[in-house]
């Protein structure tokens, strides 16, 4: 082993991190090389001193201060969502009124459609389901296509798309659970950590069976 290799490995040698063969090679070398022996003694002192670094204790009120910060954040979060909701309603009154009208109209239409389905006609409705944060599974139907999952903060950009496969048996009812897996949530410290990740799963009608 050359002097440069020995010197580079002295710290690992002192911490017993080297394999036996490497450790023996270091020992043999420093036994016959006064300069490396000197470096070894120095490194041994450094490694020993690293172990003597006194840990500091967190201040006594560490937990209390943290708890206050968490309380403060939760309070601000509540205010933010209430404010955002109020603001949204204020600035979108017309749109909301239109949406309400459409909703009522759709409801009435749905009633009619359900009545027709009862007569055996194959009619399907688009289903839009909003799942709570972190839940990525939604109910689907045979032949449905999952349009995707959007992340709040990114608009409606889809990032997962999967067709619901045929069930094993089509004799019973053809409704079953379908799971869509999404991306992982961001780590704190990452650029997008403040975004709220709320999967929105939308299934669109496929050529499913009558049921």
């Amino acid at each position: 082993m050359k002097c440069s290799q020995v010197i580079e490995n002295l710290g690992s040698y002192c911490r017993h991190e080297l394999a036996d063969t490497q450790a023996h090679a270091v020992e043999e070398h420093i036994a016959s090389c006064p300069q490396c022996m000197k470096e070894y003694r120095l490194m041994a002192r450094v490694m020993g001193a690293l172990g003597e670094i006194e840990p500091i204790e967190p201040r006594e009120d560490f937990s209390l201060r943290l708890s206050e910060k968490i309380d403060d954040w939760e309070a601000r979060k509540r205010v933010f969502w209430l404010g955002a909701l109020a603001g949204f309603i204020r600035s979108n009154r017309r749109v909301l009124a239109t949406a309400a009208t459409v909703f009522v109209f759709s409801l009435l239409t749905s009633v009619l459609v359900i009545q027709r389905m009862g007569s055996g006609e194959d009619v399907r409705l688009e289903e839009r389901m909003v799942s709570p944060a972190g839940i990525t599974g939604e109910r689907g139907y045979t032949g449905d296509v999952v349009e995707g999952i959007a992340m709040e903060g990114f608009g409606m950009e889809s990032f997962a798309m999967r067709e619901i496969p045929q069930p094993a048996s089509t004799t019973s009812d053809s409704v079953y659970m379908h799971y869509v897996t999404g991306d992982r949530p961001a780590y704190p410290g990452e650029e997008f950590e403040d975004y709220v990740y709320r999967p929105v799963v939308r299934t669109v009608s496929g050529s499913g069976q009558t049921f």
Binding site: I7, E8, N9, L10, G11, S12, R15, K38, E39, Y40, R41, L42, M43, A44, R45, V46, M47, G48, A49, L50, G51, E52, I53, E54, P55, I56, E57, P58, R59, F62, S63, R65, L66, S67, K69, I70, W73, A133, G134, R184, P185, A186, Y187, P188, G189, E193, Y197
Partner: protein, 209 residues
Amino acid sequence: MTRYTGNRPRGRDESDEQLMLNAGQGDRNAFDELVRRYSSRMVNVAYQVLGDRELAEDVAQETFLRAYKSAARYRQISKFSTWLYTIALNLCRNELRRRKFKTYSLEGMAERDEDSKIRVDIPDEKTQPDLDMERKEAGTLVRQAVEKLPEKFKAPLVLRDIQELTYEEISKILDLPEGTVKSRINRGRMRVKEILKPYYGSESSGGVS
């Protein structure tokens, strides 16, 4: 030598990961338990990287706050401690970059010689016979030397030689291959040795400590 072995949970014996999952479901006591287990380690790692006690407290607080904010979205995709260290070191890194980190403790003590080697002036207290004092002084001295390391050597060295983490854990925390981690730790140790050579060199010709 190992002093960061983690406090044994007093009131609860769930794993860190389970506690974090519980915290995500609104169990504030579970999160408090995690704070109790890790506050010392987070304050110390930040202190050893930043060299400033107040700043270290702030970084440790922010680390836990960010972990709490993410609790509802926490998934057990890695060891909790690894995840927490990652947050803390990212915050330290941001802090170092934002503030163009100035050394505090060595300011006025260390200066560069004409040949660019760092010189550390040691107060002349070596004659004091108290062994504890000597150990403490050695610890302080080496900590100040560690503070002088470039960021890329400092974090791995702190995690390995002071926080006593494994190479595998360090590799995950820093998102670096293990080989790179080992190399940086070795180079960091060599630099610390060079920084301290003027002090130790004058008295280390004797036996191995």
